[in-house]
Point group: C2
Chain length 241, copies 2
DNA sequence: CTTGACTCTTACGTTACGTTATACTTTAGT
DNA sequence: ACTAAAGTATAACGTAACGTAAGAGTCAAG
């Protein structure tokens, strides 16, 4: 298929497809004689994936990073995307509530507090950030970013050990028993020393590992790709608990 | 309230508030001695409005234009926003369906067409554009943009007359009987000579008049503010039919 | 074989802020 | 009253994800 057709089917502009080619996000083969971009069905599926991520406000850079990761698994990605979309729908519903209350407020039927006026407006661009901040406590998140500043040395070492153990096996299947056992240690560690994570919010935390650079960078210090491995393992863990 | 507090309550950054001040979208009073921005409760409500529009992907320029219009009515705006949010939720639901089908497709349970892969992805940034395009037919929309090219001169004149009549009364209340009678002529004209509009899609068309520059500019040639007047009148008309 | 519709690359423009940098103000603690 | 910390101001450059326009080659229908 040529570019216009792809644009029409998918609803994005030709320029957008050019752009995605430029940044290496979606680079179709080029007809050797004309130089035209030729998109295959597989390219279309990739585009669909990209658009799903984009709809969830992932920056293109992150999308590229995630999708070109060696552990990338389309099915898992789709399941994550579904979760995130559901979150987004919740936010939308909150906004609708807020708007309805505001209408009542305007009509004088109901009196709204300032805080209520902004319920549903989560502009962190990351559906899990707020949640994670609440759980880790604001400092903790900021410190995790700066390499977990104020833990006791013993705790810090215990944590590092878990990371190192995970880093060693980061090439196996995140769904395998071995990976799941290892990630369970992480789950238990967090539950013991930080806050109680439900399996669901543990999944959410895992998603942040790939979404949020502050996490990705820190974790990947123990081995490149560890964040994405842990994220996948945590997602799987959440499904089974 | 000082800027940080507003930022915290509303969830936007301080920089964003600075920016909105810079472009004249939300300019609070400044403390005469310190030079600090002081936000009132009214400013907060304005901010809420801005954020609603922003959540609906209105560009800031448009938001400013709409909100500073002399006909601007907060209650009407809220009702429009509610409608648009509901539209957006529909889209989200479609996307969720698409994702679920894609998962089935990946698992091999179900075979998906290329078109199906992108259902729910409407990236026109304007929930009504697609709809309007379908109704007017693609050419018509593009021609409306270029001043309605290929109508018969008679029809063109009839249309212009309706515009002129509306322009003359554009300062009265869009909800008044007089305005509603005038807008009904427009409704009937469209239904006779173009496509059948349901009251709902007539509302949608009206929303485009303020959202989409191609419409705004053309319509406002008959008098500044006509587009916004018609939009409000059409919205009201839709509610009563 | 000629158009009109596509396509290519190049390159500058735009929107909505993020991110320093530097300097003044306010507030909380001693 | 004094000082550090936190908040605020302006200024200015940076960035992300395309839009838009220009100039030139390519393809498909009549």
């Amino acid at each position: 298929m040529k570019i216009k057709e792809v644009a029409t089917i998918s609803g994005v502009s030709v320029r957008t497809l050019h752009h995605y080619d430029e940044i290496g996000l979606l680079s179709p083969k080029k007809s050797s004689d004309s130089g035209y971009r030729i998109y295959t069905d597989h390219d279309l599926s990739t585009l669909q994936q990209i658009l799903f991520f984009r709809a969830l406000d992932f920056p293109l850079k992150k999308i590229k990073e995630i999708m070109s990761d060696s552990h990338y698994n389309q099915l898992e990605a789709l399941e994550m995307q579904e979760k995130l979309l559901l979150k987004q729908r919740q936010k939308l519903d909150e906004m609708l509530e807020t708007i309805q209350k505001t209408i009542q407020n305007e009509k004088g039927v109901y009196q709204m507090s300032n805080n209520e006026k902004f319920k549903g407006f989560d502009f962190s661009h990351n559906p899990y950030e707020k949640e994670a901040r609440q759980r880790w406590g604001d400092q903790k998140v900021d410190e995790a970013k700066q390499n977990a500043g104020n833990m006791t040395p013993g705790l810090q070492e215990e944590m590092n050990q878990i990371y190192r153990d995970l880093a060693e096996i980061r090439d196996i299947d995140p769904k395998s028993d071995q990976a799941q056992t290892a990630i369970q240690k992480w789950y238990e560690f967090l539950n013991q020393h930080f806050t109680t994570y439900s399996p669901e919010s543990f999944q959410g935390l895992g998603m942040m590992y790939v979404q949020d650079d502050r996490f990705t960078k820190n974790i990947d210090q123990f081995g490149e790709g560890l964040a994405s491995f842990m994220s996948a393992a945590m997602f799987e863990f959440g499904k089974n608990h």
